[in-house]
């Protein structure tokens, strides 16, 4: 009786594992048929060449504490164009700057790797003439800030572990 139970339990686990493998395979299948789904890119030139997104916004100003190139680049053309770029610090290995570029109507994550534990201040700000929302607060005990604005067909957001002053300069350097 106990042996029968154990065999059935093992079969159940195997069946669940088989179901997960099947679903994973189904998930992979569309990318074998068509490209454009979310994937990571090694560098910005790869992103420009292969992602199919013509106008990725990349900052040209970097404060001293940030490391170039980006530590992670994720991009998709389907179901809507979106890019997420992450930059680590020079003296630390965690993400210090995140840039989101999402087609308007797309679903931008409320937060990325940099998570606000408290928002202390919100203000309207004109970023090179574009209306933007600037927020300053605390992330894991250190000051951080984020700025959100619309750029053409995209919604942009930059989040940085720093007070707003440096973030504004970084965000401004992404605009022509």
């Amino acid at each position: 009786m106990k042996k029968k139970f154990l065999i059935r339990a093992a079969l159940s686990v195997a069946a669940i594992a088989a179901l997960v493998v099947f679903l994973k395979t189904l998930n992979w299948l569309p990318s074998a048929i068509e490209d454009g789904y979310m994937r990571s890119y090694a560098d910005v030139s790869g992103l420009r060449l292969k992602s199919g997104i013509k106008d990725p916004h990349v900052p040209s100003y970097f404060p001293e504490g940030l490391r170039w190139p980006p530590s992670a680049i994720l991009a998709q053309r389907r179901p809507y164009p979106a890019i997420i770029m992450e930059f680590n610090g020079t003296k630390r290995n965690d993400v210090c700057l995140e840039i989101f570029q999402y087609a308007r109507g797309g679903r931008m994550p409320a937060e990325g790797r940099i998570k606000f534990s408290e928002i202390k201040e919100k203000a309207r700000y004109a970023l090179k003439g574009r209306p933007a929302l600037l927020e300053a607060g605390v992330c894991g005990g250190e000051p951080c800030s984020r700025i959100t604005w619309d750029e053409g067909t995209y919604r942009m957001r930059a989040v940085m572990k720093s007070p707003p002053f440096e973030l504004i300069r970084v965000a401004g350097s992404m605009l022509r």
Binding site: S12, I16, I33, Y37, P109
Partner: protein, 322 residues
């Protein structure tokens, strides 16, 4: 934006679209996993099978809102990248220039139409009719069948009918045609079956499930599972009647006479929706009769560990299905 991206974005970028898509996916995974578990664990008891199926409806209705409460970012790119299955990949795909999301839209529209035509309108019509009509006064009481239980009445009709009326004063009605065709044991078994429905209706689980099912009017998996739940309910009442009368073969005999020919019906070609319904009904009657003919007072353990393991696995997989 192309049509496929636009439609795909509707299903993956809006809360309503995500609910439609993920409810379907979550219930499909739950149905496959529950069906597999029932087979692997050799579960015969209709009451336990009904619980497994109930889990599918619950997964369809509640999974998405609960998961979104746990992590509001489930729709984001980060989450989708690590998901077991990302519906956006399929819903934005085009095959021969036709977006797959169109097929999904057609499927939910067709399911909604079936629900309206075959479930909601008949249920509303039946309720309104039942309010207008009262049972014929000529119905005569059949005394001594269920002492202390609901009243049993015979009404004049040549058709082979038996049914129960729920509510404060529940009653069981059988037609005079049925009384003539069935022997005394078969009549008693049919009445015991109806009495079981009345007894189980004191805890109106099926009504609650029906309301959940109404919320899932667009979901073909919920449509299928709800019908199976109703069929399991019939088997549960068969079991109660068989145990109460001690004569399962009498109920099997009654079923065979009432649904003469239904259990031997074979599918016609080409199949229409009506033929499929009729064939499926015949299979259900056949399985009820077979179950009663090989009746052993079944293993009625709750099977809670198996149920818990299966539901835990379903919840874990579905969390990563977006």
């Amino acid at each position: 934006m192309s049509l496929s991206v636009l439609l795909g974005s509707c299903f993956t970028g809006s809360v309503l679209g995500m609910y439609l898509g993920q409810s379907f996916l979550h219930s499909l995974v739950a149905a496959v996993a529950s069906g597999g578990a029932v087979r692997i664990w050799g579960i015969e008891s209709p009451a336990v099978r009904q619980r497994f199926r109930l889990g599918v409806i619950i997964a369809a209705v509640f999974s998405f809102p609960v998961y979104q409460l746990i992590d509001p970012d489930r729709g984001s790119a980060y989450f989708r990248l690590g998901a077991v299955f990302d519906s956006a990949r399929w819903l934005t795909l085009e095959l021969a220039g036709i977006p797959l999301s169109i097929f999904f839209l057609l499927m939910i529209a067709a399911t909604g139409a079936v629900f309206l035509h075959q479930e909601l309108i008949p249920v509303i019509g039946h309720t309104l009719e039942a309010r207008k009509k009262s049972m014929p006064e000529s119905a005569r009481p059949l005394n001594g069948i269920l002492p202390g239980g609901p009243g049993v009445f015979v009404f004049q009709s040549d058709e082979l009918l038996s049914f129960s009326i729920m509510g404060r004063e529940p009653a069981i009605y059988i037609s005079s045609g049925l009384e003539q065709v069935l022997d005394a044991g078969e009549v008693a078994a049919s009445i015991a079956h109806e009495a079981a429905h009345i007894e189980r209706n004191r805890k109106p689980m099926l009504t609650a499930v029906f309301f959940l099912r109404v919320l899932q009017f667009f979901n073909p998996v919920a449509l299928f599972e709800f019908r199976k739940i109703v069929q399991e309910e019939e088997k549960i009442c068969d079991g109660i009647a068989a145990s109460a009368t001690g004569r399962p073969e009498a109920l099997a005999g009654a079923l065979r006479k009432i649904y003469r020919g239904a259990e031997t019906a074979s599918p016609k070609s080409p199949l229409s929706l009506g033929d499929i319904e009729e064939y499926s009904h015949g299979l259900h009657i056949k399985s009820r009769i077979e179950r009663l003919e090989r009746w052993e007072c079944c293993d009625e353990r709750g099977r809670w560990p198996e149920l818990a393991f299966t539901f835990f696995a379903i919840a874990a997989i579905n969390y990563f299905m977006v």
